[in-house]
């Protein structure tokens, strides 16, 4: 099998930025269940994965078989890691280290669909094994843990060498590395299966395919996003989603690709947020506004109140239940950004979040994207999101009302340091950009929060006369009025 020159070039280029000495310190996996030997695992992979057959010319099983043959030490998974390591060192002297750089598989191949690229990786590994290489490996680009702003700079200049790359080898230097390599290969293989069959799988599905291997949902989440980042595609292009957890209710209806129509105005319980891939069009003609609510409880109490009468005719409620998943953010963006898909509607959208650092951080995720998924943030951001509540002024009544003041809570140490970090981030982006004024509003609120050492949850409003519904109604009227004034002025 041949590798195209392009791939090799790129490979060398990516090797240049590899710095083994500064390899990310891997978290010890000593506490993770790791009881399966590699070959067992790989064979099982073959057995329970649909879609492997549709591998065009390749069969994963072949490679996996090869891996067992080509690397005898891998078959002795039952041995203690130290023994294995010793064996490994005996069998493969320093040569292994030297050949590593030349043979990194071209994970960062710039062209091709994700499916083709996964196949290219497997092909490369197979070639390496055929050639009797001592070690096989893949390189992953690490997502930056820097805040959004520097990330934006980073993606603007893709040649920036600050993108960290990490190489995982098999058998590798430690058991941990071998395990991580196995995880990535397993995930790639599941993604390949999903891409071949056209089914979408969730990150949770991936985990449950092999909980003993993955050990923890976190590892799946991390590597799926790293793979998407390395390929330079949104996660949805890998046919992988997070678990659907968002809810939507109100004056909106969806036309699915299969031709069926579903409306969210019929059910106070709300609909699960549909995947945008299945949606042909969104009918928002009667929606005058969209409100994002942080919490499911508030979503439900609002939908169950008399506010529903107004809601079902002129508005949309959506909740991501805490920090939102990608599907919820994508749907919100679809609602609020004019496109053929939503009939060029652009209703104003508002956020109703707790008056605490997390609430404001959740609003910021909807608005500016998250740090973890900064590489695909652009298609998920809703910069025009306005802050409806809870704001300082909504808490004023609580200061006078003895009963309601019980809804005010003291900031924890975690809240305080979170607020401080958010302030630091806010200061960093103080570059006069468009969003600046809004962000200053959030920073000001954080400072007041720190000064008062008090936070409030949305449930506080239940103690207010009229409750949440009253507040939301009033705020909407006020905002509608100010918008009308502005239009008149213009």
């Amino acid at each position: 099998m041949n590798i195209d020159d392009d791939g090799l070039d790129h490979l060398l280029a990516s090797d240049d930025i590899l710095d083994f000495s500064s390899q990310e310190t891997l978290q010890s996996s000593a506490d993770e269940p790791f009881c399966m030997s590699e070959d067992e695992l790989l064979l099982e992979t073959h057995a329970d994965t649909p879609g492997v057959d549709s591998f065009d010319e390749l069969d994963v099983a072949d490679y996996l078989g090869l891996s067992a043959v080509g690397l005898p030490q891998a078959a002795s998974g039952a041995l203690l890691p130290t023994t294995r390591q010793i064996q490994h060192d005996k069998l493969h002297p320093k040569k292994a280290r030297l050949s590593k750089k030349q043979k990194a598989s071209s994970f960062s191949h710039p062209q091709g669909s994700p499916r083709e690229r996964i196949e290219a990786i497997f092909r490369q590994i197979s070639t390496d094994l055929d050639d009797g290489e001592a070690e096989i490996g893949i390189s992953l680009n690490m997502r930056s843990r820097q805040p959004l702003q520097s990330q934006a700079v980073l993606t603007a200049d893709s040649s920036d060498t600050r993108i960290r790359s990490k190489r995982l080898s098999f058998p590798g230097r430690t058991e941990d590395e071998a395990w991580r390599f196995t995880i990535v290969i397993r995930i790639l293989e599941l993604i390949h299966g999903a891409l071949c069959t056209g089914f979408t799988i969730s990150k949770r599905d991936i985990y449950y395919r092999d909980p003993a291997l993955f050990g923890n949902q976190r590892h799946v989440d991390r590597y799926v996003d790293d793979i998407a980042f390395t390929f330079g595609v949104p996660r949805s292009a890998l046919n992988v989603t997070a678990m659907v957890k968002g809810l939507v209710a109100g004056a909106v209806s969806f036309c699915r690709r299969d031709g069926s129509t579903v409306t969210a105005s019929g059910d106070r319980e709300g609909l699960l947020v549909p995947s945008l891939k299945d949606i042909l069009s969104v009918d928002l003609t009667s929606a005058k506004w969209v409100i994002v609510i942080e919490k499911e409880a508030s979503f439900r109490s609002l939908a169950a109140s008399s506010f529903w009468d107004r809601l079902s005719f002129e508005g949309v409620l959506i909740t991501g239940k805490g920090y939102p998943d990608v599907a919820t953010r994508a749907l919100l963006r679809c609602f609020c950004t004019p496109s053929p898909q939503n009939g060029f509607a652009s209703p104003p959208c508002f956020a109703l979040v707790d008056h605490d650092p997390d609430g404001l951080a959740i609003m910021s995720v909807y608005k500016h994207g998250s740090i973890a998924l900064a590489h695909e943030s652009a298609e998920l951001k809703v910069p025009q999101l306005q802050w409806l509540g809870l704001r300082d002024e909504h808490m004023t009544f609580a200061t006078a009302d003895a009963h309601a003041s019980q809804g005010l809570l003291i900031l924890s140490m975690r809240d305080r340091s979170k607020a401080k970090k958010m302030l630091e981030r806010g200061v960093m982006q103080g570059d006069g950009s468009l969003a600046h004024k809004d962000d200053e509003e959030v920073s000001a609120a954080l400072r007041v929060m720190l000064m008062l050492n008090i936070k409030a949850e949305l449930q506080l409003l239940d103690a207010a006369p009229g409750g949440t519904a009253q507040l939301v109604g009033d705020e909407l009227d006020r905002l509608a009025l100010s918008v009308a004034k502005q239009q008149k002025y213009e």
């Binding site: 140490m413 401080k420 302030l423 920073s443 400072r447 050492n453």
Partner: protein, 326 residues
């Protein structure tokens, strides 16, 4: 008998965000806000008669300490002699300032925040000469620093029950340090023995301001309980409750003679209390926006009547003077 106060001057948009703290010297007013700068206005040129030309700018901005607290500054205080100031910022940093003969402030030293402990330094207070700085922490300690050293050296540490220290004050004669806490606790420490002198019957709710009277006789404390409690600093007994604020009390200040107490509320109301009569003698309402800080200006020879300044969420510095003839 009530007194009347007139708004004599306002400096709108004195800061771009909430003004959180005020401090005064005999000739200057220092203000700190959510912005990174500390601003200093001169109070020397205040005039009585409105017909003089000076009156258009009676409180000129004389100095701005630019970008000294990147995340904003929540507390600022000065020593009674006006030569030393201290400010604490949202990043957890603590800065000491000194003032030269011309009234220009410059940085003296800084205490960097400990990365792991947000809010290590919160409220601050300096003694008369500015040599000692008392500073509350999030976990209820009071750290006393010697500011003569660079960086400031920890001189003493007072322990309380671990509740957030929201306010602190060193008595004018330097013998006592008082602090008010989130859980309503109020403590007086003896500075010479470094021991707890009194644990005062608290207000149960957060105590946002504690202030010693000029003659060290009383301690005033107030906060979310919406009352101002007066304590005798020798006996530790509560001697009075001043009621009348409908909202949280954010700030307190005694006038020079100790006859009047000034308070500022979350609802934007400022009140003046007669200590002798134990009642409110004047209420000022400019807006409904929280007054984070209220402060009497030191009495100057030129002014017959006393002036105070109030600032807060309105971002404005408002000056009030007692109306003549009452």
């Amino acid at each position: 008998m009530s007194k009347q106060y007139l708004q004599t001057h306002t400096l709108p948009d004195a800061h771009p965000t909430d003004i959180f703290s005020l401090a005064v010297t005999s000739s200057q007013l220092l203000s700190a806000s959510g912005s990174s700068s500390i601003r200093i206005h001169s109070t020397k040129g205040q005039v009585i008669h409105a017909d003089s030309a000076d009156d258009e700018h009676p409180y000129p901005l004389v100095q701005t300490l630019e970008k000294v607290h990147p995340l904003g500054c929540h507390h600022v205080c000065t020593s009674l002699d006006g030569k030393i100031a201290a400010s604490s910022g949202f990043g957890g940093e603590l800065k000491i300032w000194q003032c030269n003969e011309e009234g220009t402030w410059s940085a003296k030293s800084e205490l960097k925040p400990d990365e792991k402990k947000a809010g290590e330094h919160w409220a601050v207070s300096l003694n008369e000469s500015g040599q000692y700085l008392a500073c509350t922490t999030h976990d209820g300690r009071i750290n006393v620093y010697n500011t003569v050293a660079t960086p400031p050296e920890k001189f003493a540490q007072y322990e309380t029950k671990g509740s957030f220290g929201m306010s602190v004050d060193i008595s004018p004669n330097g013998s006592m340090t008082a602090c008010g806490h989130q859980n309503g606790g109020i403590y007086i420490f003896n500075n010479s023995t470094q021991r707890l002198a009194h644990s005062l019957s608290g207000l149960i709710k957060p105590v946002r301001s504690v202030k010693f009277s000029p003659a060290n006789k009383y301690l005033a404390a107030a906060g979310d309980a919406r009352i101002i409690a007066l304590y005798d600093t020798q006996s530790g007994e509560q001697v009075a409750n001043l009621t009348g604020h409908a909202s949280w009390i954010m700030s307190l200040d005694w006038n020079w003679s100790g006859e009047f107490l000034l308070s500022g509320g979350f609802d934007g109301k400022a009140k003046i209390w007669s200590v002798e009569r134990r009642e409110c003698v004047a209420t000022q309402t400019e807006s409904e926006k929280c007054l984070w800080a209220v402060k009497w200006l030191p009495r100057s020879a030129a002014a017959r009547n006393e002036t105070f300044v109030a600032a807060g969420a309105g971002r404005t510095l408002c000056f009030y003077r007692e109306a003549s003839g009452t």
